[in-house]
């Protein structure tokens, strides 16, 4: 690219050459505390690490582990009541702790660029992109308005924004999430930073867009020579992207090493367990997911000994009194554990296999069905009836947006454009696709929350839902017992005592203690809340449960608990699930059949394993390729065929095949005629001209 020289390559003064041997970033014993009214939260509690020039370091950890606070400490942008208490941060040998705001402002945005998680909220909504980009460029690079604008346009072109000269005058709301994140990246790169901090930069994006952005960040750091600190909870991304890894737990780095070392021979029990909790899109399907017991410690309390001891199956007496420091192991690896190889230490191997069974609910005593008078859930048990619990026939949902002015025509959006599905008793169907593909609209219609425009939904029994966000789907003023009992209450089922008995039974079923019944949602963790969500869905004894992204708001270790719970319930109660998610690895793990949706239509349908192992539709293939695999060896060998562009607007879909605008194998036929969903192999259906 011609403009590369002006836009991105580093032209630093030759005087700095002498310092090239020292690490770019040296962090020593960093402490950042939040002085809240209910106590001091030691979010970053003694972190030390080094980052070399041009290196990509991934910082991994659960929410609350202090990884974001640590990153923000580096540029000393910690929101009140947070404060960098002590420690040293050296960038290029220069101490940053103790600098005044004016000096820090010279470094922020110029020596250190930052990319944040949510592109939808990280750009000023009432300011044009150019105004947001140009001002820092003028300030840091001392360019005039015209040169600054040209520089900004060059950058936008480099991060893949088409027609950047015009798009630069757009407002953020006129751009898609992926485009906005590209703008964020262009901003972070705009003043030739030596270091880029990226805080979960792809978490809010769809998989195909995520793959594009990760590729972009990778090439950008390679061409500009910037180092990058990349915060994530997605181990697959780490494997795809990072060179070094630091695992954070309770405000400390508990393990660090190269990406190969961490994935092939993790040394800390937390890392070891974490790597086992994730379902995978490729390779052999694990029987049951490992789940880490318990919760991270309360960071307001003083921790004696190792912070992981309560959750560690290998914890010994020493761990309760003595906190292990980060100790060097072979190679560049180091881990904060008394045991040389963590759970892999001789004599402990059996623990992981034991653990992987998880806390399978001890309540095997069977599911007592309370005779519910007036119940909607009485299912016709006649054996002659076939086992289909849900049948969807040619379901359509079109949203019309009428214009107030009589002379303007309203727009029509085809959210769901004719889908037909069948669900057997005890079967789980996964519906996957990117946001905007119509999967949530389908769920809403199944529940009767939206009226279908046309088509039929036949349900044998009743249907309930588990929502995505356990933080916002409960009334915060209601006790857990009332939340679970509410469906019974609404349907006027049972007496008060019967309802209470039912609620007690339900809460045990989802693996929670009876003491939780008198608590409020705010007193529960995310995973516990989602269990309550499942209990509430089961209250009416439904035949089908729709789970709309039930794990996407949860941390990895907790995610495994919920997935295991759903699998157990399915087995024990013969429940049927409609599992809606963009997380392909989870869908694969839990589903028997899978429907891949694109722009309101099903493009591929069939048994989950077959689709994951041998995807037929180009879109399914691209989706699977976009999901990073938590194994750096596999990731290193993969050549990823990226999808071009973004999901077209459902108001204006491409002619012919909906996928034709992004398909790598598109032919003239595809843009003319829409391929029907046709039988493929024995039990599958695919909508593609190229597949037969």
């Amino acid at each position: 690219m011609e403009n590369g020289a002006t836009a991105g390559t580093i032209n630093r003064p030759a005087g700095k050459q002498a310092s090239l041997t020292q690490p770019l970033l040296q962090v020593q014993d960093l402490h950042t505390h939040f002085f809240t009214e209910s106590g001091t939260v030691k979010a970053v509690n003694g972190v030390s690490f080094e980052l070399q020039r041009g290196e990509r370091l991934a910082v991994v950890g659960e929410s609350g582990s202090g990884k974001s606070a640590m990153a923000m400490s580096l540029i000393q942008l910690i929101a009140y009541p947070g404060k960098l208490v002590s420690g040293s941060i050296r960038l290029d040998g220069k101490e940053l702790v103790g600098l005044g705001e004016p000096e820090l402002n010279k470094l922020r945005g110029s020596a250190i660029g930052t990319v944040f998680q949510d592109p939808m909220s990280s750009l000023d909504p009432v300011m044009r992109v150019e105004d947001q980009m140009i001002q820092p460029i003028r300030m840091h690079l001392k360019l005039g308005q015209k040169e600054a604008r040209k520089h900004a346009v060059d950058l936008l072109t480099r991060v893949g924004i088409p027609d950047a000269d015009n798009r630069i005058s757009a407002y953020p709301f006129e751009m898609s999430g992926g485009m906005r994140q590209r703008v964020m990246i262009a901003m972070a790169l705009s003043c030739r930073p030596k270091l880029i901090l990226a805080d979960e930069p792809t978490t809010a994006l769809d998989v195909t867009i995520q793959a594009q952005i990760v590729e972009l960040l990778k090439t950008m750091t390679e061409t500009t020579g910037s180092a990058m600190m990349f915060i994530t909870h997605d181990l697959g991304l780490v494997a795809r992207f990072a060179q070094k890894v630091a695992v954070m737990y309770a405000g400390k780095i508990v393990e660090s090493g190269t990406v190969g070392e961490i994935f092939s021979s993790p040394k800390h029990p937390y890392t070891q367990s974490l790597l086992k909790t994730i379902p995978s899109v490729s390779g052999e399907k694990r029987r049951r997911l490992l789940q880490i017991q318990g919760l991270p410690p309360d960071m307001k309390l003083h921790i004696t000994g190792c912070s992981y001891k309560e959750r560690c199956p290998a914890a010994s007496e020493r761990c309760y009194t003595d906190a292990p420091e980060l100790m060097p192991r072979e190679g560049g690896q180091s881990a904060a554990c008394w045991l040389k190889n963590g759970l892999m230490t001789e004599g402990y191997e059996s623990i992981t296999t034991l653990l992987s069974q998880g806390e399978k609910p001890e309540a095997k005593e069977g599911w007592n069905r309370i005779p519910l008078n007036g119940s909607v859930s009485e299912q016709p048990d006649s054996p002659g009836d076939d086992n289909v619990v849900l049948r969807i026939t040619d379901l359509h949902k079109h949203f019309k947006k009428a214009s107030l002015l009589p002379w303007k025509k309203g727009a029509e959006i085809r959210a769901v454009g004719g889908i037909s599905l069948k669900l057997q008793r005890g079967e789980t169907m996964g519906i996957v696709g990117e946001s905007g593909c119509g999967k949530s609209t389908t769920a809403r219609m199944l529940l009767g929350l939206d009226e279908p425009t046309s088509g039929r939904i036949e349900i044998n029994g009743s249907i309930q839902i588990v929502f995505q966000d356990p933080y916002s789907s409960f009334n915060p003023k209601m006790k857990i017992s009332d939340i679970i009992a509410e469906p019974l209450h609404v349907r006027k089922i049972g007496t008060k005592e019967e309802r209470l008995r039912r609620v007690r039974e339900l809460i045990k079923k989802v693996g929670l203690d009876l003491s939780y019944l008198s608590r409020y949602p705010s007193q529960l963790s995310g995973g516990q809340r989602q269990r309550v969500g499942v209990a509430r869905a089961l209250a009416l004894d439904p035949s089908i449960v729709v789970a709309d992204e039930p794990t996407s708001a949860l941390d990895v270790s907790v995610r495994a608990q919920i997935i295991n719970l759903l699998c157990d319930l399915k087995e024990e109660m013969g429940l049927s699930f409609v599992f809606i998610s963009h997380d392909l690895s989870t869908v694969r793990y839990i589903s028997d059949t899978i429907a891949v949706m694109y722009l309101g239509e099903i493009v591929e349908y069939g048994p989950a394993e077959e689709i994951f192992v041998h995807p037929a539709h180009p879109y399914t293939k691209a989706l699977l390729a976009a999901v990073p695999v938590p194994d750096p060896m596999i990731e290193g060998e993969r050549t990823i065929e990226q999808l071009r562009g973004e999901l077209p607007s459902p108001a204006n879909p491409p002619a012919g095949c909906a996928f034709s605008s992004r398909c790598p194998h598109v032919t003239a036929k595809c843009t003319e005629r829409k391929p029907p969903l046709r039988g493929y192999l024995e039990r599958r259906e695919v909508a593609c001209h190229a597949v037969s």
Binding site: R108, S121, S122, D124
Partner: protein
């Protein structure tokens, strides 16, 4: 923008039609004979009948309504009963004075309140609670003081004790400096409570914006706090502030009625008080209509400004 304005104007016309209808029927719902009420004890028998005919009150209701609508469309507001002066002329004379008082008040309030609220929000965001609390509590206490009380208090101090400003007196446009002096006190009185409300709203709005992700982005790009607060935070916080300024302009007109009366300023408010005291129904009716129109017009202007500040606003 133009089509947005068109849609808004269409709504405005519908609203005004509703107001005119409401005012017309509300007046006629007052129990008793309006003609008798207006005439008081002066007329009876045939003279009252004559008076009724003169007012057009003998015609059927729908005819009266149609007449009234037509006259409003022609901007023919009739004459007062007591003085027989054309109402339009009276209002045109009083209007600039009231608008000037209200305008200066709003200007003064905005100029003080927005920086004050922004500073308070900035302090709160940085965890400097004491200074922020001092501003917020002062604003709250000032907000609680009724206008007539502040007016008397200020009159006492500024006019009687310090003799800085005239307490009351005629206002005319011929002597601008004297006129400014005359309206200074009323403006200050009205502005005091406006400042208090507006400052608190500004504080809340700016504080909320300062916690937004895009403010963090601006800070991460090395923007100084001045740029962050005034270019990013305040601009976004303007949206709720504009709404409140529009609404309080309406409230301000209520305030002028009392304050104009206290300071004897010949504005619309004084006209209204005069009309009510002398049972001059046509005058009252038209002043109310005028107030309603100002409310609607200000809402329209607010919407236009809102659209200008926030490109996302769609209709």
């Amino acid at each position: 923008m133009l089509s947005y304005a068109m849609k808004r104007i269409m709504q405005l016309i519908v609203t005004m039609f509703g107001v005119v209808t409401l005012v017309f029927f509300a007046i006629r719902m007052i129990p008793g004979d309006p003609a008798a009420a207006m005439a008081g004890d002066n007329l009876s028998g045939a003279a009252l009948e004559e008076f009724r005919r003169k007012l057009g009150l003998d015609a059927p209701l729908w005819e009266q309504y149609a007449d009234y609508l037509l006259s409003v469309i022609r901007f023919d507001f009739g004459s007062t009963i007591t003085t027989s002066l054309p109402i339009a002329g009276l209002m045109l004379k009083a209007l600039p004075i009231t608008l000037m008082v209200a305008g200066f008040t709003m200007l003064l309030a905005v100029l003080i309140a927005i920086p004050l609220g922004t500073v308070a929000a900035f302090l709160a965001n940085k965890g400097k609670k004491k200074l922020d609390n001092a501003i917020t509590w002062t604003a709250m206490i000032v907000d609680l003081m009724p206008a007539f009380w502040t007016a008397l208090l200020l009159m006492l101090f500024l006019s009687l004790n310090l003799k800085l400003l005239p307490a009351s007196g005629a206002v005319s446009f011929e002597d601008p400096s004297l006129m400014l002096k005359r309206i200074a006190l009323p403006v200050v009185v009205l502005a005091v409570s406006q400042v208090a409300t507006l400052a608190r709203i500004t504080r809340t709005a700016v504080l909320e914006v300062l916690n937004e992700d895009y403010v963090r982005t601006a800070r991460s790009m090395g923007m100084s706090e001045m740029v962050v607060v005034f270019r990013h935070a305040l601009k976004n916080a303007m949206l709720p502030i504009i709404t409140i300024v529009g609404l309080s302009f309406g409230n301000l007109l209520n305030g002028t009625v009392i304050v104009e009366f206290i300071f004897s300023i010949p504005g619309i408010g004084t006209l209204l008080v005069y009309g009510i005291n002398s049972r001059d129904y046509p005058l009252v009716q038209n002043v109310i209509l005028f107030y309603a129109f100002v409310f609607v017009a200000i809402n329209f202007i607010t919407d236009m400004v809102y659209k200008k500040v926030d490109p996302r606003v769609q209709f």
